[in-house]
Amino acid sequence: MYKFTAIVVLLIFNLATPGCLTESIDDGEPVKPEQYEYTDDGELVIVTYDVYGLTDEMLERFENQSGYEVSLLKLDDSGSVLDHLLQHKGLQVADLAIGLDNTYLQTALDNNVFWEHNALLNNISDSALQPYDGPLAVPFDQGYICLNYDSEVVDGENYSVPTSLWELTSDEWKGKVAIPSPETSSPGRAFMTATTDYFAHDEDNQSEWTDWWSAMSSNEVIITTGWSEAYETRYTGGYGEWTDGHVGDAHIVVSYCHSPGVESWYNGNWTKSAALDISRSSFHQVEYVAAIEGGNLDSASAFIEYLLTPEINSMMPIENSMYSALEGFDLPEENGYRFNSVVPDEPANVSSATIAKNMETWLEMWNNAMVDA
Amino acid sequence: MLRCSGLSKSFEKELFSNFDLELEPGEIIAITGPSGCGKTTLLRCICGLEKPDSGEIYLNDENIGNTETELRGVGMIFQKPVLFPHLSVQGNLRLGDKTGDIEKALLEVGLADFEQRNVASLSGGEGQRVALARALLAEPKVLLLDEPFSSLDEDLAMKLVKDVRAILKQRECPAILVTHNKRVAEEFADSVISM
């Protein structure tokens, strides 16, 4: 009986002084090319979230061309992709990661989860390379994050088109704005980053960006885990109306400045969604594809090459609803795609270095702002 | 033949100590005493379901004190007929001996044609007869009986007592009966021991 109690006490004590067997992820340097050790097993495992552009046809074409067998590990959002990379570092579970953007990339780089690919690339546009041009991650599409509004509802009668972000904290917008969470979603994080710049330059209200978020929290802003819940399920101005789970309680949503163009493209040159181009409220987002350290470098590099070929990448606007990462390719003109897409005059200006330095703190500040409301 | 010497057992209080017993081939003895005095425990020690604190048990000059119940060759009839409900009479008998002559065994206990009967439909007396037939099919060297007649009504019990004694005598199977009923003891056994 005493032996038993002694063991129980020991075990509880062990819990309180934890983890002699556990170690942190990585303190070292990225793996050098000479140290590469991997097996080419003829497979390509891609970890991603539900990216529209990775259609079955596109993947099958790659399989036929390259001979590699593709399988997708589908997670919820950019946050889940990052989690996965960190959790499975060195375990060779996946070969390629798609879906981190320039607000998520730095954490991945800091933790050495990627290694250099050996794909042959050319003609990538300067704007796509501007946030990061190193060998560990390759941009494959880009776009501007900004607010969209339902122009049928926001018509000047019941709701007026906002000209500043502070207007969204007023009573008329209570519970009518949907924003994906910066903790889990890349558009969400991009938008949050934009607000840090917006309020640093806001002459009317000398307020902190966190004050605005607190006010939005009090004003019952809808925070979703991912972009699709915000845009598809909550937003009234988009295609979500036609989906089964649609709820439709938000008239303003964080999406892309070219989202109205996408709507127009699919609706045969008509859209009721419009982009809200308020200075410094939009953000230039670049999305990356990267080879995961320890994975099948050959198949990963082959896919990166494939994704950046003109044939495939020029189709980004149509297949993936994003701008191409290559130089010289614009949105199609048909169906009012280009016409209804807005290119912001003055997007938020936040350097990659600033993001790298501050993102962790920003996320904490954001959380506290939302909680303290 | 069975020989017990110096058997002692206590459980919270002393049940029996230094108990000796000798059973000749073909002999039937009865042990009487009030309830709770340890008679059942004594039987259980002899067949191996319990271990005595001290003492030895010899069966045909072999010390069986440390042998498993299954291997001792000592049969037992319990107070209530322990018939397995998922088996028929025949099935129960087969547990005693897979290849034995079921018909003959049933005839011996006076239950001819009972093979297919459902054990739940048997009366108390019939049940004990089946239990006896089953135990005998296993060809025990000694048969122990733990008050098998006490749950039956008087007349039935006495009839059964006579029949069982006759069967055992015919087979020359030594037996020990434990009972609190003096009359049953005297009818059944050659000699009676009091505890």
Binding site: N14, L15, T17, P18, G19, T22, E23, D50, L54, T55, D56, L59, E63, S71, L72, K74, L75, G79, D83, H84, L86, Q87, H88, V93, E183, S217, I223, S228, E232, Y239, W242, D244, G245, H246, V247, N367, V371 | F11, G48, L49, E50, K51, E68, T69, E70, L71, G73, V74, G75, M76, F78, K80, V82, F84, P85, L95, G96, R134, A135, A138
Partner: protein, 557 residues
């Protein structure tokens, strides 16, 4: 006294149980505490300090409470009618009304979603309707508990007791009779049903995830952030949230376990001994209760099945629906981005079989060990008994996290490529149930049977096969079927562990299909198709179990 030989198999069983069930949880806790720090105050306060966890505790408690009240309100009238009066096809009616309990939660989620959603009644307007739907869905699940616990008491009450009551002033009218006769009689059963309903609603995941957008219970929040946990220096607050949530859950579940066992004793004494030769009348007006009850029980299942064939066609002129099988085809074809339902079926059945092979023998031996220990060391027996009940106090998401984080710590590379790994979670969840089923069954076997077999010279292994096994046949079958059903329908733990397309199970696949965004009109019907498959298998298992259930147990299974 029989001398105890602690057999090799017993020690193996206890060791296996400790390794399989206790160890992963231990390691997971260790890892979480390593990241989050050992201060429980931090863990609990993190639930208020973090935006994603804000309001979760309140929501969890409130919805659980309201669900319990709703369940009693719906279940008691049904139990009353069933117990008091005669009904045609009595056992079938009762089976239908109690069947929701064994349905996988994800199937129920799909069912209710399609009833209130745009494809159905289209009343899914705002938070208040979602909340109401959630409460009703919980009541749907748990009314079976009220019926199972209360109906036997109502049904077998000696009519003379009631007749006597009517002749006394304390029973002169219906209300008095209820207060003085029925209420005290039924109180423990109602309390037990309420307690269990509270627990199940408290740890609700699938329903909350799909019906109440944006709201979380402790369980669903843990599932959502679990993938971020266990990494040093990364999202420390999430580890704190997981620890805080599991602490709260553990406490609530433990309290309810204690309460249940106390109530169990009270109920045992009240379960009447009267046989069911009481003549019952039929009650035509009772159809106003039983009829809607049956419809209520069946409607989500019908909705799911129907929705699997209903394809939405949308174009600029509007929306219309057609009836086709393309949803089923979509579900059963595989592509690079999605496994086919065949693979999910194969995985589900494989895991269920594996769980069965491990959990049933393990649980059985543990139950036997407890019984054997009771003879010579009752304290140890009690300790082992409590140990086998430990997983009851741990929710399925926590078990999933236990497997995931615990396995990472032992040997991540091995476990991530080892197909049976998710089955571990299923074993952890089902073994306690097997012990709970086998223990009373083993107890009920009169020891004289075994002793008699020994005196007949039958060796132990033969006694096991020829005596013990046949006598326990009913309970073994219930244990087997229950284990299979639980494994097949398991959602929380599987969702956390099988984020890998090779291992996806039917419930997780349903969730994945329904989660696919964008305007693909086949994903929802496909999700319903897979739900229908899961539903069908569960119904099959349920009908088999009903055949072998011991008649008058008044218990949960």
């Amino acid at each position: 006294m029989l001398e105890m030989k602690f057999k090799f198999s017993n020690s193996c069983a206890v060791l296996a149980y400790t390794l399989l069930v206790i160890l992963p949880l231990w390691l997971a806790l260790d890892r979480l505490i390593w990241v989050a720090g050992p201060n429980p105050i931090d863990w609990l306060s993190s639930l208020e300090r973090n935006y994603i966890a804000q309001g979760v505790v309140q929501f969890t408690f409130i919805q659980a409470l309201l669900s319990t009240l709703a369940t009693l309100a719906i279940g008691l009238p049904i139990a009353w009618q069933l117990g008091r009066y005669k009904w045609p096809l009595q056992s079938l009616t009762k089976a239908i009304l109690t069947m929701p309990f064994v349905m996988p939660s994800i199937v129920a989620a799909m069912g209710f979603l399609h009833i209130v959603g745009r494809a159905g009644l289209n009343i899914r307007i705002d938070e208040s309707t979602w909340f109401l739907t959630l409460i009703i869905a919980h009541a749907w699940f748990n009314m079976a508990l009220v019926i199972r616990f209360c109906e036997p008491v109502i049904s077998t009450l000696d009519p003379r007791l009631e007749e006597q009551m009517r002749l006394l002033p304390a029973g002169s009218n219906k209300i008095r009779r209820f207060r003085n006769l029925w209420a005290p009689l039924l109180a423990p059963s109602i309390a037990a049903a309420a307690c269990m309903t509270f627990v199940f609603s408290f740890t609700s995941f699938a329903l909350v995830r799909w019906i109440t957008l944006g709201e979380n219970t402790l369980e669903s929040v843990m599932a959502g952030i679990g993938s971020s946990a266990g990494i040093k220096g990364y999202m420390v607050s999430r580890n704190e949230i997981v620890l805080g949530s599991s602490m709260i859950q553990f406490t609530i579940l433990l309290l309810s376990l204690v309460l249940m066992s106390w109530l169990q004793q009270k109920r045992q004494s009240l379960l009447p001994q009267v046989s069911e030769d009481i003549v019952k009348k039929s009650n035509p007006r009772g159809w106003y209760v039983i009829g809607p009850g049956l419809i209520f029980a069946l409607s989500p299942l019908i909705a799911v099945f129907g929705a699997s064939f209903r394809i939405r066609n949308t174009d600029s002129s509007g929306t219309n629906y057609t009836w086709e099988t393309s949803g089923w085809e979509y579900a059963f074809t595989s592509s690079s981005s999605m496994t086919s339902a065949w693979d999910a079926l194969y995985n589900s059945l494989g895991y269920a079989a594996l769980t069965l092979i491990i959990a049933v023998p393990l649980g059985w031996i543990l139950a036997q060990t407890i019984l054997d220990l009771e003879e010579f060391n009752p304290k140890m027996a009690r300790a082992l008994d409590v140990l086998t009940m430990l997983p009851f106090a741990i929710s399925s998401v926590m078990i999933g996290l236990g497997v995931m984080l615990g396995m990472i710590k032992i040997d991540a590379e091995f476990f991530y490529s080892f197909w049976p790994t998710p089955a571990l979670a299923h074993v952890m969840i089902t073994t306690p149930f097997v012990v709970r089923i086998m223990l009373p069954a083993l107890r009920s076997i009169d020891p004289s049977y075994d002793e008699c077999g020994r005196t007949l010279g039958i060796p132990k292994w033969k006694r096991f096969i020829q005596i013990q096994l046949p006598m326990l046949r009913g309970s073994i079958l219930v244990a087997v079927i229950f284990t299979l059903a639980m494994s097949l329908g398991e959602f929380g733990a599987s969702w956390v562990v099988t984020r890998n397309s090779d291992w996806t199970t039917l419930p997780v696949m349903i969730d994945s299909l329904k989660s696919i965004p964008y305007n693909n009109s086949l994903t929802a019907p496909a999700a319903c198709a897979v739900s229908s498959v899961l539903m069908g298998i569960t119904l099959l298992l349920f009908t088999w179990a009903e055949k072998f259930r011991p008649a008058r147990d008044g218990g949960m299974f």
